[in-house]
Amino acid sequence: MTTLLWLALTWAQIALGLAACLATYRILVGPRAQDRVLGIDALYIAVMLLFIVTGMRLGTPFLFEAALVISIAGFVGTISLAKFLLRGEVIE
């Protein structure tokens, strides 16, 4: 039964890593600026989930706090980038 959990954890890490790679492709290639912002949004979600899964695998609670910080900082970053695209400046 432990093999099942090992397989699930390994698949989760591989899938989330691939998701981060695809989001990175959209950041690098994305034809316009909003595509890159969307790629950053998807990238931080994938990396946050990868931190949680890795924290489960290693049995350490520290990566959970890093995931919490990533989720909050990513939200602020994406909102400010979207606002920059909309208005041309972040703080008016």
């Binding site: 954890l9 989760a12 989001a23 909003q34 979600i45 989930l49 924290g55 995931a67 939200f75």
Partner: protein
């Protein structure tokens, strides 16, 4: 992996199922972000990862940590609430910014209408009545 080996089989099955479900949905969302053609299609794809991708992995984490710590361990709900409240706000903001940019430049299949006022003016506050 050493601590997780103490999980009983009845708990191990849902943990593994939620892990596989969440990571596969996140991968599908990222593949949609990679594959779809227009920005307005692509903006829908990563929400797979932010809705059930995040929820399933956080459920698996809650189940595993609650067993390992011998108490109900709900810290993951903070991340879940944070992600699920902020994602619609972010994507609506981003979609509005993209629509504004496409209208200004008449790109992406969006017609540049003369009535399209910049959102800075459209969303500005109406002047208050004199009594307030």
């Amino acid at each position: 992996m050493t601590a997780l080996e103490t999980l009983p089989p009845w708990l191990l099955l849902p943990v593994a199922f939620f892990l596989v479900l969440g990571s596969t949905l996140t991968l599908l969302g990222a593949f949609g972000l990679f594959h779809l053609k227009s920005f307005y299609d692509r903006i829908h794809a990563p929400t797979l990862g932010t809705s059930w991708g995040t929820a399933a992995i956080l459920l698996a984490s809650i189940l595993a940590w609650s067993w390992l710590q011998d108490r109900v361990f709900l810290h993951e709900l903070v991340i879940g609430i944070c992600v699920m409240v902020t994602t619609p706000v972010t994507l609506m903001f981003l979609g509005r910014a993209a629509l504004h940019r496409d209208r200004v430049e008449a790109r992406g299949g969006v017609t540049a209408s003369a009535a399209a006022v910049p959102p800075a003016q459209a969303t500005s506050k109406q002047p208050l009545p004199a009594g307030e």
